[in-house]
């Protein structure tokens, strides 16, 4: 499984980690929904660290498409909120 952290690069990760990643994602979503700045920052940083620690960086000489894409590390709460209600995003 290839994961991209935007503006940072791609990581190759065993697909067994997807469940954990989804759990972390759910926590981030919750923090965003609650508008909880501190919780958002911690959970999002945790999510990124999880990818960095469990994944192997994809070499710059490789050209592969990602299976999962994460926003840039400096994502702000209000940007995250925008992601959920911004234009052109398919709601689901």
């Amino acid at each position: 499984m290839i994961i991209r952290i935007m503006s940072e690069g791609q990581y190759r990760m065993p697909s067994g980690h997807l469940d954990q990643l989804n759990d972390l994602d759910a926590q981030v979503v919750l923090a965003v929904a609650q508008g909880d700045q501190a919780h958002f920052q911690t959970t999002y940083a945790q999510m990124l660290d999880f990818v960095r620690q469990q994944g192997e960086p994809v070499a710059a000489t490789e050209l592969v498409e990602s299976d999962v894409i994460l926003p840039a590390p400096d994502l702000e709460l209000k940007e995250a909120q925008q992601l959920f209600k911004g234009e052109g995003i398919i709601p689901g």
Partner: protein, 233 residues
């Protein structure tokens, strides 16, 4: 649907906008390559822009720092001359100057990070451009084979994702530097007329504004008292 899938949706939309798929794989390859080279140029320009903004903020910080120490000296002079009112005024301005200095220093660290990020991205993108360039020649030579078609698809998709990511990163960097430039220009203008006005307070609510004012005036009084003591008054 979480953050993961939303971001993917946005990036995919961006990728599609970047990619003009052609029936001719060789054309698709050339087009993608050309886009990538263009983007690399844009990243390079972005870095230059960030560095320019950084220099400007540095210069500004130096100027405000100088003003702050000047105001300090003026306050002391005024006090020595028995003009407590003038001394207080100078110290009030010094407070504002110091606050601005803090703001400028924060901007500097943001720009520093941005520069770091874009530089890393540029290195990565350069390598990818080179990889793609080599690969596209090989693929073009054999693109009639079904196998090559698949590989072209992979290379082009991997590449366009990188393009879309970098495109968004550049947009963000531009937004950041632009808003900083606007703030910097405003501070410049005011500093030139010798009036330091507290711009950092514009976005605050009444309460925190008043609290800040209280603590600022407390600082002024404390400094004034210390200065008096030094002068033996």
């Amino acid at each position: 649907m979480g953050l993961l899938s939303r971001m993917a949706t946005i990036l995919k939309a961006k990728m599609n906008a970047l990619l003009e798929s052609s029936a001719n794989p060789a054309e698709t390859l050339e087009y993608s390559y050309q886009k990538q080279v263009e983007l690399l140029q844009k990243v390079k320009r972005g870095i230059v822009e960030v560095v320019t903004s950084k220099r400007r903020v540095e210069l500004q910080a130096a100027r405000v720092r100088e003003q702050v120490s000047q105001l300090d000296a003026q306050a002391e002079e005024a006090l020595a001359a028995g003009r407590e009112d003038l001394a207080r005024l100078a110290l009030q301005r010094k407070q504002i100057g110091q606050e601005q200095l803090g703001d400028l220093e924060q901007q500097l660290s943001v720009l520093e990070q941005e520069q770091q990020r874009l530089t890393t991205a540029e290195t990565r993108l350069s390598t990818k451009v080179e990889t793609f360039r080599t690969r596209k020649e090989t693929l073009k030579a054999q693109y009639t084979a079904a196998e090559a078609q698949v590989r072209i698809g992979e290379a082009v998709h991997g590449l366009s994702e990188e393009l879309a990511d970098m495109g968004l990163a550049i947009e963000r960097a531009e937004e950041k530097t632009e808003s900083m430039r606007a703030r910097a220009a405003a501070i410049d203008e005011l500093a030139e007329t010798g009036v330091l006005v507290d711009l950092t307070r514009s976005g605050e609510d009444q309460l925190s504004r008043e609290l800040k004012q209280i603590s600022a005036s407390r600082n002024v009084e404390a400094e004034l008292a210390a200065m008096k003591e030094r002068l033996g008054q």
